[in-house]
């Protein structure tokens, strides 16, 4: 088969084989915290992806200039700048989302996913590959957050993206909106993903 271009491989691996939430299991703090609503999960996913893509691009452009000793403080400084920009933009244009996500927006800075990708990929590869990898990872992260958000919102308040889905007869499981529900649903979802992965491997 034709050799799939490297960029496509970089992009695709972030979606399934190396999905940050369900395979690499990094960046769990925001995943658990903001997914009581699918809309917040989407907003956090997009904010994280923007930061990841922007900082991966910048880091891979200047990868030769940044000395080895201070690479972590420099990466964190670049990431923190982009996160502040996202936070100010959200406060200005989407105040209610900014209030919902609240303290978890600054936590994108210490999200192991972003710093990890800078260190492992962005600082060692040319810009176009780094951007593709960041895009893939960001998209994988967003999809996982929205999926978990939908499950928790559906069971917790009977709605998806605040559209009433389950009829009035359904008594919402309030636990799904509280911390225990977050841990339980993510744990079970992890199990389910492992089963699906084993089935896929079994077939191919």
């Amino acid at each position: 088969m034709t050799k799939t271009p490297v960029i496509l491989k970089d992009f695709a691996k972030g979606l399934w084989q190396e999905n940050p939430v369900f395979r690499l299991l990094i960046g769990m703090c925001p995943t658990l915290a903001v997914t009581s609503q699918a809309q917040n999960g989407l907003a956090m996913g997009l904010a994280t992806s923007f930061t990841l893509i922007a900082s991966s691009t910048i880091v891979s452009i200047f990868r030769k200039l940044i000395p080895k000793e201070v690479r972590i403080p420099s990466y964190i400084l670049i990431i923190a700048t982009f996160v502040t920009i996202v936070s100010l933009y959200l406060q200005a244009k989407f105040p209610d989302i900014s209030k919902d996500l609240g303290p978890y927006i600054p936590l994108i800075i210490v999200n192991c996913l972003i710093l990890g990708r800078q260190e492992v990929f962005a600082s060692k590869n040319p810009t176009h590959r780094a951007a593709a990898d960041a895009l893939g990872m960001g998209l994988g992260f967003t999809i996982s957050l929205v999926a978990l958000g939908m499950v928790r919102e559906l069971l917790g308040s009977g709605t998806i993206f605040s559209f009433k889905v389950l009829g009035d007869g359904f008594r919402p499981w309030i636990i799904m909106l509280t911390p225990p529900g977050a841990f339980l649903s993510l744990g079970l979802m992890l199990g389910m993903i492992n089963i699906i992965d084993r089935l896929l491997k079994g077939k191919s």
């Binding site: 703090c29 403080p73 911390p179 744990g187 492992n194 089963i195």
Partner: protein
């Protein structure tokens, strides 16, 4: 005054537990909690680190950011000072106190990417705590983290002998146990009313 500090301390350890209520430090929580010894030392190192970060964050906020009116520099200032401070302190301990470094110092780099510590620093800003109260809050939150991680380590050592379904092995079962622990800590919710 002392009564209020004790309330803040107990609330930070039990009621507003950093791991089980605010979902912070989940990466180390999943990673480290499979043996008791490393869990306890990781916990205490985090507490030590949070107790020194709290006053530093408080000073940056009051003397730099508020005085000059630059609220938007909050995240950037906190993180760059914390990251560099950590690297420097770790090198000093490694050079002059190898024994201390072996016990505690190895955990110092943990600060830079530990959500709990940055979140705690920013919470001080949000709630305008006084200096003393910030230190108590930092110390209490660190102990809360240690408590959660030690309980989990104890349970996970038992789990080795039970037959966990293959798909849930490792992180899956840990998250489910954490869910049950969180349920218990929710019970402690109305224990103390203090902001």
């Amino acid at each position: 005054m002392i009564k209020e500090l004790i309330l803040v301390f107990v609330a930070a350890v039990l009621v507003n537990n950093f791991v089980l209520k605010y979902f912070l430090g989940i990466c180390p929580f999943l990673g480290v909690s499979d043996n008791l010894h490393s869990a306890v030392s990781m916990g205490f190192a985090t507490t030590f680190v949070m107790s020194i970060t709290a006053p530093v964050a408080w000073c940056i906020k009051h003397f730099v950011l508020d005085k000059l009116g630059l609220p938007f520099l909050e995240y950037v200032c906190f993180i760059i000072v914390i990251a560099s401070l950590v690297q420097f302190v770790e090198m000093v301990i490694k050079k002059f106190y190898p024994a201390l470094h072996q016990a505690m110092g190895i955990y110092l780099p943990l600060i830079t990417t530990n959500c709990a510590i940055l979140f705690m620093a920013l919470q001080l800003v949000l709630r305008e705590y006084s200096l003393l109260r910030s230190i108590v809050f930092g110390f209490g939150s660190g102990l809360g983290f240690t408590l959660a991680i030690t309980i989990m380590a104890g349970i996970r050592e038992e789990i080795e002998f039970c037959d966990v379904p293959r798909c849930l092995k490792g992180p899956g079962i840990t998250l489910i146990i954490a869910g049950l622990l969180a349920l218990i800590f929710v019970g402690l919710g109305g224990l103390i009313k203090v902001n």
